[in-house]
Amino acid sequence: MLREVLISLWNGFGQSLQLFCYTLLGGLPLGLLIAFGSMSKIGPIRTFIRGVVWVIRGTPLMLQLIVIYYGPGLLGRGMNLWGGGQGGRMAAAAAAFILNYACYFSEIYRGGIESIPRGQTEAGRVLGMTKAQIFFRIKLKQVYKRILPPMGNEVITLVKDTCLARIIAIYELTYSGQAYIKSDGLLWPLLLTGVFYLAFSGLLSVLLKREEKRLAYFE
């Protein structure tokens, strides 16, 4: 029985991990783009982007999941944006998670970028560096160091948030543990999922701490 449960939870964990990775791979760069948009010199772009961020951060991720998964089909009758089956559901979940997390990330990026002293930019300009060079060669690493702790918190939250994907029937970790309550009247598989979550977020914490240490050499 334990073996069977472990295999099932392992598969569920695989789904959770997939969603976790998609969210980071898509959300981290998209968040940076959104951050730039929210700092744009062009007023309408700035207002629009900040409006989107406000809506996404002000509504539940679960609601966004449902809207993104079912919305397209309801709008255009018979339109099937996400494709069928588990693959389509995962695509929809990834889209919702990426959008949601990118908005949170963007605020962290923006805070980080705005916290870099003006003197750094000016020193670069006086040395004849271009805007892009100043961003990538001077500011990026300093921003990275500053945002690492808040980003770390978001990433750990994401580990646990992946369980929301069950609302559109993705067989993620929590779902696969809970299944044993119905089918066999067993609670312990669900509790065992907790061990998975703890181990994973524990591992991430260790990696983050190590990265923070690696960057401790400056400022």
Binding site: Q120, A123, V126, G128, E219
Partner: protein, 246 residues
Amino acid sequence: MAYLEIESLGKRFGGADILHGVSLSLERGKILTLIGPSGEGKTTLLRCLNGLETPDMGVIRLNGETVFDAAAPKQRERKQTHRAFGLVFQAFHLFPQYTVLQNVMLAPSLQRRESKAELKARAMALLEKVGLTEKADSYPNTLSGGQQQRAAIARALAMEPDVLCFDEPTSALDPELTREVLNVIRLLKKEGRTMIVVTHEMAFAKEASDLVAFLKDGTVAECGTSEQLFEAPRTEALKRFLMQTE
């Protein structure tokens, strides 16, 4: 025509005339110090020269070439093969994630005009000049203020600016460290660098400058050799200013 010519430069911030009609000229290899009360636009003038602010009026000419003309302000943006001006800040603004050597090498390395080895040799020579050979591989947060400022000077020199500007380079430093930095500036003077130094160190201004300009009410109230200004000030404002700083 002088090497550097600043002609009726004007800068306004939200309706307030911070600089107006600033005209100065400086010969090659000479050192000009800018003195004057706080808030009279000394920093603003250096920022205008260095392109951190765009003047509303005036012309800047260097070696017969127009570097900036308020009538055509966009021209500054064209790519320069070398820098007309360099600037050393009051608060250093070193890049904290890079070692001293990397700080010096970063900007020139992006220009790709010399090999890494050539650039490194040049950077090390600059560090030797400012007395930081031993600190080449140290990070800025492990240096004293005086060492940081000397590293910043080496970094500015690496771009080979025609005119090197200093904005109160020692006002964040205590006397001991101030001396280190001023000695470097004296050394650069000996090498024949053209420099503009904003300073509150009157003894230094007196001794080291070829030309002194007293900035008051956003314009050059008095300009001349250090004997002229310090021994025989003509304006009341300068007399008063010198009394206060004594």
